[in-house]
């Protein structure tokens, strides 16, 4: 318990030093380009109070959620299939490398051209950017699947659902966690770009707006609100799930 308290103290001190540095830099420079922390937090608080920030963050969060789930499901299915089937993998591996190397911006532009400036285009663009990464990680995971557990499930007639839930997914859990974490980090960033290029709401759209107005406090307020939500997801969802899934490792 005391180590947890110490950990929290270090975290608080770390943020305090960062804020202090910001404050010092802002007071010394006295420029519109770097507002003082107090002003930024003022904008943040009023934005939250009026519901404007909450609205746009919620919109973005919804988009992140849908594309994340879609990318994880499709990417895992492709990755596990390729990991289990050597010959299929040999054929599709070049495709995977190709898609892995297509710049995110190209995918986004093409999706908007093909599907119009729509929600579907956004979701597809974000998911397509992420699917190859998930597939590559999950392919490695599938290669580590233990044949003897498969035999066990077959002999004792677990059936498809039980086998998936109790035999396959637990073996893939570390790989799922790895691709979920890197996936969340990537998707957050791409969603903003996609919003900036073709949507009329969401954090990306707002950042674009404040960029045109040269409103730095607005940009930073949205950034902070956004980072807090991502951290909350990491600490409140991803890490507890990982601890739960790994509890059998003493």
């Amino acid at each position: 318990m005391s180590s947890r308290v110490r950990h929290a103290a270090v975290l608080a001190a770390s943020f305090a030093v960062l804020l202090l540095l910001w404050q010092v830099a802002a007071s010394v420079l006295q420029t519109r380009a770097l507002p003082e922390p107090a002003r930024v937090f003022g904008v943040l608080v009023s934005g939250l109070a009026s519901g404007e920030i909450t609205y746009h963050v919620a919109i973005t969060l919804g988009r992140v959620f849908v594309s994340f789930i879609l990318a994880m499901m499709i990417g895992s299915a492709i990755g596990v299939a390729l990991g289990l089937m050597t010959r299929t993998n040999r054929f599709f591996d070049p495709w995977l490398i190709l898609f892995l190397n297509v710049p995110a911006l190209v995918t986004i532009i093409l999706c908007y051209i093909w599907f119009g400036l729509t929600e579907v285009a956004l979701i597809v663009a974000v998911a397509v950017n992420k699917i190859p990464n998930v597939a590559v990680t999950m392919r490695e995971g599938a290669r580590t699947l233990d044949r003897s557990y498969q035999d066990l499930a077959q002999v004792y007639e677990f059936g498809a659902l039980k086998t998936l839930r109790h035999v396959i997914v637990p073996q893939l859990a570390p790989f799922l966690a790895a691709s979920a974490r890197s996936g969340l980090a990537l998707i957050w960033k791409i969603v903003l770009v996609v919003e900036l290029l073709g949507r009329s709401n969401g954090v990306g759209f707002q950042l674009h707006l404040y960029f045109q107005l040269f409103d730095v406090p607005g940009i930073l307020a949205y950034t902070i609100a956004f980072v807090i939500v991502v951290q909350a997801l990491e600490l409140g969802a991803l890490q507890p799930w990982e601890r739960y899934a790994g509890r059998w490792r003493q």
Binding site: S148, Y149, D151, V155, Y156, H166, W248, Q250
Partner: protein
Amino acid sequence: MSSLIVDIEEKHFAVSSDGADCVLKDIKLTADAGQFLCFLGPSGCGKTTLLRIVSGLDREYTGRVVLPGKEGAIPPKLAFVFQEPVLLPWRTVLQNLHLAMTEDQVARGLADQLLEAVGLGDVKHAFPGILSLGMSRRVSLARAFAVEPDILLMDEPFVSLDEATAQGLRELLQKLLSEKPATVLFVTHDSREAIRLGQRIVVLADRKPTNIVQDHAINLNDRDRRDTAKVEALRQDLDGI
């Protein structure tokens, strides 16, 4: 209950481009329901392959296998005790048993009874990682009986244990079988173990492809099986091939 029929014409493994490697040829036998049959043969002669074919895990062979079943249309229930315990490390001991069982068996509390019977009642909520090899093997044995099998396949289930632990597990197996009879195919390379357990010993040849070279009925009572002199005398017959 009906008999077990094994009739394997040929089993090949594709090893290289220049041909295939035949491991089993003309393995034909019938085992009466409830018989304890030991397959005895040296390591690597194809005993595990034989069990995998009987279990349905390996279907790439020519021939047929008919499992012993109950009367009527109920499909025969099979249990397999692998050479390694093969417990899911991310599920508790009790969950490992429940996963293999039907809902009805779980509801009857069969898993708890069996874990008590194998002396592991107090670790049923533990994860298998903390168990010793001997304990894990007992869980694996309990799981096999938890599905109430008609046929029980065992692939050298007591190797790499010290003799006292192995003997303890053999006695446990016999006790469980006396309460829940099943046809047993038990694979081993240890002729003493085969004599102590088997009602019938089928000896497989040390060559490729292997086939059956001897088929002994063992008419010993429980006292004789513990009598070292009698066991050694029988071993002479088995080893003198």
